[in-house]
Symmetry: C2
Subunit: 231 residues, 2 copies
Amino acid sequence: MKAGPDIAMVASLVGDPARANMLTALMTGRALTASELAHQAGVTPQTASSHLAKLEGGRLIEAEKQGRHRYYRLSDPDVAGVLEGLAGLAARAGHMRVRTGPKDPALRRARICYDHLAGDLGVQMLDSLKKQRLVRQTKQQIELTAEGERFLSNSLQISAQSLAHPRRPVCKACLDWSERRHHLAGTLGAAIMTRFTELKWAARDAAPGSRVVNFSRTGEKRFAALFGDGE
Amino acid sequence: MKAGPDIAMVASLVGDPARANMLTALMTGRALTASELAHQAGVTPQTASSHLAKLEGGRLIEAEKQGRHRYYRLSDPDVAGVLEGLAGLAARAGHMRVRTGPKDPALRRARICYDHLAGDLGVQMLDSLKKQRLVRQTKQQIELTAEGERFLSNSLQISAQSLAHPRRPVCKACLDWSERRHHLAGTLGAAIMTRFTELKWAARDAAPGSRVVNFSRTGEKRFAALFGDGE
DNA sequence: TCGATGCTTCGGCTAGCATCGAACTATGAA
DNA sequence: TTCATAGTTCGATGCTAGCCGAAGCATCGA
């Protein structure tokens, strides 16, 4: 009938609740085993195995065998982008998952979006970077300024050269579903999040599959010193 | 169990072939009646009505009543963006719709992406704009240059002021599923496409629901003169 | 007022698919 | 070897959701 890519095919893959749970679990950026994903999705291993085969067939995830485990990860950052987009549409339609756990406020405050910081603090950081003119956002595009490069090197020991990547932009605006505003993605967003973890300013929540990021007391202070909305 | 937006909810809406057909039909940016959408989807009016109610409930589309017709449109350009994203994932997974019609090459050459030009010519236009330094693309962001403003005014009678919009950026990079590269979206992308139509350089295909854009002979020449890879 | 058209609601049918129990294969440890 | 664990395949089951026929509103034109 029609030409074009079969979007129903891939959307229906995401459309099953169990598979959607698995995919959101993989939004942490970590590779997870089949049984971990089964647990996340709340189904038995057999069922999970069938789901994972379908997701792999649809090229949404990739598997790597390691001993008797199979580790699954999202096949591409673009997949994470589309998932965030879907989350945005769901959020604006008011379709939140019913059983809102106690973790919800923490999730809105700071969470992992694939490999970078999202939520209230993520949005706040990008705002502050712009205000301090460390990045320049023209319309839809973000660019690191010379001043920004100095800042990264001095305050966070991140060298601008290390951010270059053949296929991924350094800075990218990513729409935040909880804040409905942009936060910082790209290799820079990822590098900053990594640095936060290394400095023990922040750590991912211990609960498996949780996207919550917990800031330490000192981390919170340092973050505020660098990116606080201050006055 | 989990907090966060219910992405399975909205993905399952897109996941049904009939609904996906309707949504792709609405990617033309035009508002269509319930019966037109039923025809596009290949289902009876009753079935279509049920689908449309679900899509409306999920806030993916909006309806407007006019006489005894109900006109449906995508509720937001963001919806179109997510649909294009899904199309990208489907294309890279090799999941194209089976019955590839004769229109397919035309579709890849030039088509409407919501309200702007996509396909080979869309990508070529953005490339040329950058090469001529009429827009500047830093990393992910596109910006109109002073020279670009003059060009628009002189060659296409588009004034830069008319492009301002409270919620929509002037320039935006939109990923093209057939070319896997960016073309120009935003109010500028839309304005240029409108101008092409007004000048009768190009027209949307007459077949209802078709996204194909046909260029006239003169249109083709003028387009090549402005944006040809010529040199 | 009458008929035609566009769209929706209702009810029943059917197919597809998610689910799980049971059985099977592969890896690692003792 | 033997046992435990991770994962898959197979077959049966049951529910969901898409589908259409028939009937019911609403709007338009005569």
